[in-house]
C-alpha cells in the first residue's frame, strides 16, 4: 500500500532540482502536470461504460415533495434512469451514519433520503443518461410537485431566536467567560467607541466544480475520484451511508482544483454518484454546475457589535464583542468569531458572546479563515475607529496594547513575532510618512488613503501517520493520505523528506490523495505542514535509524560503533559526522544488506501536554493603500504589504503564493463578495460568476509578502505553524481603514461596494 499507486500519477521534482533545505524556494513539483493539462481532477478520470448524472434541485425552500412527473424526462433518448427518494437504493436509516468527520452538532442533510425539502436548491433527483447532454436536457423536464410550507431565511428578521450553539465541532471553542467587568469599565472610561458590522453570505467558489467519478470494477469495488479535502473523510462517509465496508470503497483526490473549506465535508454529488453506481451497476460521473455550487455550504451571514474603551493614553480598558450568525435547522455550524478579541490585545475587562439563529438554509461550512474573517475584521476596524477617537496613530495604538500573554487564558504565546511584523511591514510600506488626518491625500479624481490591521489565526496540529520506503534504486517514497488543494503539499512534504534524508529532491516522491494511504487529517485549518510534515519528518528519522542498523550489521562495518547522532544523511549517503569520507551510498547500503526495500511507518501525535501550556497562533500586520474615486465611489487597492509571523517557512515559494492568495481573498472579501438572497423565495439570486463577483486580475495590484523570523518547536517539530489562512485575516479591515483614511467615510459592512462608499 505504500508503493506508488500508479493511477495517482504522483509528481516528482524535475531532474536537477538537487539538494534542498527547509526555507528554500523550490518550484512546485506538480507544476509540470498542471501547466501541461496532465493533472486530472475529480471529473476527469476516464471509465469504460460511464453514465452521466445531472442533479435536479428544488425550486421551493421548505415543504414536501408530493411526487414527480418524469414521463417527458424519461422519454429523452439516452436517458437511463432517474433516481429520486422513492426509487433510490438502500441507504442507512440512522441519522448518525450521515455525520462525516467534521460535522458540527446536529444531524446532517441526507440527500434523496426522503420527501422533505429543507432549503432552496436541495438536490431532489438525479437524471442518468448515456451522454452529459441528454442528462442535462432531461433534467429540465423533471417536474416535481410540492406541498409548500412557509420558510424563514432572513437573519435580521429572526434575531430574537438567537441561541447558544449546541454540540461540538473541530476547531471551535465557545467564547471564554467574562474577564473583569467590561460594561462597567466601558461606562467609566474617558474614550470609547461603539460599532455594528454586517457581513453577507459568501460562497467558496473554487474554480473546479464539485464532481465525483465513481468507477465500478467488475467485483463491485468502487474507486471514487472525489473533490474533497480528505479522501478518508469521503471514504468514511460513503461506507457509513451505504453500509459498504472500507475494503469495498477507495476514494482518491490526487488533484483538487481549490476548495477553501468547501471540501471539508462530503458534498451531495458524492452520495448521488455512489447511489447511481450501485443502482445501475456501472461507473457514473456527477458534476455540479456553477449554479449548483451555491446549493451547499457557505460562509454564514454574521452581525456583530463591538464596544471598545480606553484611557486617554490609549490603554484599552474594555473590549466587548457580540456576534450572531445563521445556521441551518439541522446542524449548529459554529466558528470562532469573537474569541480573537480576547486574544489580540492586553485588556483587563473583556466580554464576548456568540449566538446562532436557525434558518431554512443549508448548513454553513468553514470558508478560508472561518470566523476570523469576520471577527478580526470587526475588531480591527473598531481599533482603527478608537485610534481616531484618541487622536493616536493606529499602529501606535496596537503597540500600546500589545499582548505579551494571552489576556483571557493567561497563557504565554508559544512564539509571537507580531512586533516584528509591525516594524518590518511598516518600514517596507513607509507607514511613517502617513498624514494622520483623513482626506489628506489625493491624486487626480481619487482620494488616496493608507490603512493597517492586525491578523491572527490558530497554529494547530493534529495527528497523522506516514510511511517511508527506501527502494534499492535509491528512490524514497513517503506516503500519507494528505491532500493538496493548491497549497503545495506535494512540494513541501517532498522537501521535508529530501532535506531530512539528505537526498536530491528528484529522488523523493510524496504520495497523497488516496484513502488507503496512512491516516492523515482533513486538509484544513492551516495544519497540514505542522501535522503531516511532522509525521513525514518523524518517518524519515525512523528510517535513518533502520538504515544505520543495517549499516552496523554489514561485515567489517565502519559504522559498527556509530550512534545515530554520530552519523548524518547527506549527499545521498550515510556518513560519519566526524569523518565524512567514511560513507556509503544508500542504494549500496541496501544492496549490501540484501534488502530490496526498507519500509518504516510512523505515528505523529501532538505533544498535547506541552502545547496546552501555550497559546499557539500565527500573526500578521497588513498595510494597504487604496484609491477611491470621488464621483463613483469605486475602490482600487493599489498596494498591500503583508508581514507574516507563521513559524519557520519550509517551502518559501509555495508559502509566498499562499499568502498572496490570502491577500487576494481579503481584497475580494472587502470589495466584491456577497451572495444575496431573495427572502420571499428563500433563494440565492446571484448564483453565478457574472453576478457573484470575485477579484479578477485587474482588481489586484502590488502585493508584497514578508515572512518575519519565527521558529516554534511547541507547535511542530519543524518549527512551522501554517500559512493557509493567515494571509487573508485582517486584509479587509486594512482596506476599510484605508478607505476611511482616504475619504473620511467609515464602512463597517462587507463587501464595500461603490454604493456604500457614496452613501456613507
Amino acid at each position: 500500500m505504500t508503493e506508488l499507486i500508479e493511477p495517482l500519477k504522483t509528481p516528482t521534482a524535475e531532474p536537477g532540482t538537487g539538494m534542498v533545505q527547509p526555507g528554500m524556494s523550490v518550484s512546485r513539483v506538480d507544476g509540470r502536470a498542471k501547466v501541461t493539462g496532465a493533472a486530472r481532477y475529480a471529473a476527469e478520470h476516464p471509465a469504460a461504460d460511464l453514465a452521466y448524472g445531472v442533479v435536479v434541485n428544488s425550486t421551493i425552500t421548505k415543504g414536501r415533495i408530493l411526487g414527480f412527473d418524469l414521463a417527458d424526462a424519461l422519454r429523452v433518448p439516452g436517458v437511463i434512469d432517474i433516481i429520486t427518494h422513492s426509487n433510490r437504493p438502500r441507504m442507512r436509516p440512522f441519522k448518525l451514519s450521515y455525520k462525516d468527520m467534521t460535522a458540527p452538532g446536529g444531524f446532517p442533510f441526507r440527500p434523496l433520503y426522503d420527501d422533505v425539502v429543507f432549503y432552496s436548491g436541495q438536490p431532489i433527483a438525479l437524471v442518468l443518461a448515456e451522454t452529459f447532454e441528454a442528462a442535462r436536457h432531461a433534467a429540465t423536464l423533471v417536474r416535481p410537485d410540492y406541498a409548500v410550507e412557509p420558510h424563514e431565511t432572513e437573519l435580521a428578521a429572526h434575531l430574537h431566536r438567537a441561541h447558544d450553539p449546541h454540540g461540538l465541532k473541530a476547531g471551535f471553542a465557545p467564547p471564554p467567560k467574562e474577564k473583569g467587568h467590561a460594561q462597567a469599565a466601558f461606562d467609566a472610561a474617558p474614550v470609547k467607541i461603539e460599532a455594528e458590522f454586517h457581513s453577507g453570505v459568501e460562497h467558496h467558489n473554487p474554480m473546479e466544480l464539485f464532481a465525483s467519478t465513481v468507477i465500478r470494477e467488475a467485483d463491485g469495488h468502487l474507486t471514487i475520484y472525489d473533490k474533497t479535502q480528505s479522501s478518508q473523510n469521503s471514504r468514511w462517509y460513503v461506507s457509513h451511508v451505504f453500509g459498504l465496508s472500507s475494503r469495498k470503497v477507495t476514494v482518491r483526490n490526487p488533484y483538487v482544483g481549490g476548495a477553501f473549506g468547501s471540501g471539508l465535508r462530503p458534498q451531495y454529488q458524492l452520495p448521488l454518484a455512489v447511489m447511481a453506481a450501485l443502482k445501475l451497476k456501472r461507473s457514473v460521473r456527477v458534476v455540479l454546475t456553477r449554479q449548483q455550487m451555491f446549493t451547499f455550504g457557505h460562509r454564514p451571514e454574521t452581525r456583530q457589535a463591538i464596544k471598545l474603551a480606553a484611557e486617554r493614553d490609549g490603554t484599552l480598558v474594555s473590549i466587548q464583542h457580540d456576534a450572531v450568525a445563521e445556521t441551518s435547522r439541522r446542524e449548529d455550524y459554529t466558528e470562532v468569531v469573537v474569541n480573537w478579541s480576547g486574544q489580540l490585545y492586553a485588556c483587563d475587562n473583556i466580554r464576548l458572546s456568540y449566538h446562532l439563529v436557525d434558518l431554512d438554509n443549508y448548513t454553513p461550512i468553514d470558508m478560508r479563515a472561518p470566523g476570523a474573517a469576520h471577527g478580526v475584521h470587526a475588531l480591527e476596524i473598531a481599533m482603527d475607529e478608537l485610534s481616531y477617537a484618541l487622536q493616536m496613530d493606529p499602529l501606535a495604538l496596537r503597540l500600546k496594547n500589545y499582548a505579551e500573554i494571552d489576556p483571557t487564558k493567561n497563557l504565554p504565546f508559544s512564539t509571537k513575532a507580531l512586533r516584528d511584523c509591525y516594524t518590518q511591514g511598516a518600514a517596507r510600506f513607509g507607514w511613517d510618512q502617513r498624514p494622520a488626518a483623513p482626506r489628506s491625500m489625493r491624486k487626480g479624481n481619487e482620494w488616496v488613503g493608507w490603512g493597517m490591521a492586525t491578523g491572527t489565526w490558530d497554529a494547530m496540529q493534529m495527528f497523522a501517520r506516514a510511511s517511508a520506503v527506501l527502494h534499492a534504486d535509491g528512490r524514497l517514497v513517503v506516503s500519507s493520505a494528505a491532500t493538496d488543494i493548491g497549497t503545495g503539499t506535494y512540494t513541501v512534504m517532498a522537501m521535508i523528506a529530501a532535506a531530512s534524508m539528505g537526498l536530491p529532491m528528484e529522488r523523493v516522491t510524496f504520495q497523497l490523495g488516496d484513502s488507503t494511504l496512512p491516516v492523515a487529517p482533513i486538509e484544513g485549518g492551516s495544519s497540514h505542514v505542522t501535522t503531516v510534515g511532522s509525521a513525514v519528518e518523524g518517518a524519515c528519522e525512523k528510517l535513518q535509524k533502520r538504515l544505520l542498523k543495517l549499516a552496523k550489521a554489514l561485515p567489517d562495518s565502519p559504522f559498527a560503533k556509530a550512534k545515530i547522532d554520530e552519523v548524518e544523511f547527506a549527499d545521498g549517503t550515510l556518513r560519519l559526522r566526524a569523518r565524512p569520507e567514511v560513507r556509503i551510498e544508500l542504494p549500496q547500503l541496501l544492496q549490501h544488506a540484501g534488502e530490496a526495500r526498507v519500509e518504516v511507518k510512523y505515528l505523529m501525535l501532538p505533544d498535547a501536554l506541552k502545547q496546552r501550556k501555550y497559546q499557539r497562533a500565527t500573526h500578521s500586520a497588513v498595510f494597504c493603500e487604496v484609491h477611491v474615486d470621488e464621483d463613483f465611489g469605486t475602490v482600487r487597492v493599489t498596494r498591500v504589504v503583508s508581514a507574516i509571523a507563521a513559524g519557520k517557512i519550509i517551502s518559501a515559494k509555495t508559502a509566498h503564493s499562499q499568502i498572496t492568495g490570502g491577500v487576494v481573498w481579503g481584497i475580494s472579501q472587502a470589495l466584491h463578495e456577497e451572495t444575496l438572497q431573495d427572502h420571499r423565495l428563500g433563494r440565492f439570486m446571484n448564483a453565478n460568476f457574472a453576478e457573484y463577483h470575485v477579484a479578477v486580475n485587474a482588481d489586484i495590484h502590488d502585493i508584497e509578502v514578508i515572512f518575519v523570523e519565527e521558529d516554534d518547536r511547541v507547535v511542530s517539530r519543524l518549527g512551522a505553524k501554517g500559512v493557509g489562512e493567515i494571509g487573508l485575516v485582517g486584509v479587509a479591515a486594512a482596506v476599510s481603514n484605508a478607505i476611511y483614511h482616504a475619504t473620511g467615510r467609515r464602512i463597517r459592512d462587507t463587501p464595500i461596494t461603490p454604493d456604500k462608499v457614496i452613501a456613507a
Binding site: 523550490v26 507544476g31 481532477y41 424526462a73 447532454e133 488533484y255 456553477r290 503545495g488 460568476f689 515572512f707
Partner: protein
C-alpha cells in the same frame, strides 16, 4: 399549506427523437479528427468527454470564468460557449498541444518559475489565454496584461505571479525576475 407545480407554466418541449448527428472536421493540436456530433455538444464537452483531452477545464460552462480557454484558429475563445459544430474546419489548440514533446512552451515554463498557479485548475485557461493575448499584440504594459487577462478567473489568487510570468515572456518591463529554481529565503526580505 398550498400545493404548486412549478413546471406547468412553460414546459420545455420534450425531445423524443435522438438528436440528429452532423459531420464535422476539427484539427486538434495538429491532428485531424472527424466527428458525427449533435449540435448541442460544446467544443469543451467534445474535448473533455469525447476526446479525453481534459486539460481544458470547465469552471462555469457559461463564459464567465475563462477556465475553458482554447485557441481556435489562433484566437482565444471560451470553449464552453462554442458549439462544436460551429468550429467545423477550425484548428484548435489546447493546453495539451502547447509543449514540444518534453520541452515546455515558454509560458508554461514561466508559470512554473513564477509559481503562477496553486490548485492549477485555472492554469490551462490562463496559459492558452496568454498565448492568444500575445498574438493579439494589444498588451504593452503590466497594466495591459492585467486588464486583458481579466477574463480568466483564478480563485487561488495567483494574479500577481500570472502577470509576472506573462510579462516576462512578452518582454514587458519591469517584470520581477523569476527566482532561481532553488534560492534560500533570507528571512525578513521581501519575496516578490
Amino acid at each position: 399549506m398550498l400545493t404548486e407545480n412549478h413546471a406547468t407554466a412553460t414546459p420545455p418541449s420534450p425531445v423524443t427523437m435522438a438528436a440528429p448527428l452532423y459531420p464535422i472536421e476539427l484539427t486538434v493540436n495538429g491532428t485531424r479528427h472527424q466527428f458525427e456530433i449533435e449540435t448541442w455538444v460544446t467544443l469543451l464537452d467534445l474535448l473533455r468527454e469525447r476526446m479525453l483531452l481534459t486539460g481544458s477545464k470547465k469552471g462555469c460552462d457559461h463564459g464567465q470564468c475563462g477556465a475553458c480557454t482554447v485557441l481556435s484558429n489562433g484566437r482565444r475563445i471560451n470553449a464552453c460557449l462554442a458549439l462544436a459544430v460551429s468550429q467545423n474546419g477550425h484548428e484548435i489548440t489546447t493546453i495539451e498541444g502547447l509543449a514540444d514533446g518534453n520541452q515546455l512552451h515558454p509560458l508554461q515554463q514561466a508559470f512554473i518559475d513564477h509559481d503562477a498557479l496553486q490548485c492549477g485548475y485555472c492554469t490551462p485557461g490562463q496559459i492558452c489565454s496568454a498565448v492568444g493575448l500575445m498574438r493579439e499584440g494589444e498588451a504593452h504594459t503590466t497594466a495591459g496584461v492585467r486588464e486583458l487577462m481579466s477574463g480568466n478567473v483564478c480563485r487561488c489568487g495567483a494574479y500577481p505571479q500570472i502577470v509576472q510570468a506573462v510579462s516576462q515572456v512578452m518582454g514587458i518591463a519591469p517584470a520581477a525576475q523569476p527566482e532561481a529554481p532553488v534560492r534560500p529565503t533570507v528571512v525578513g526580505t521581501v519575496l516578490s
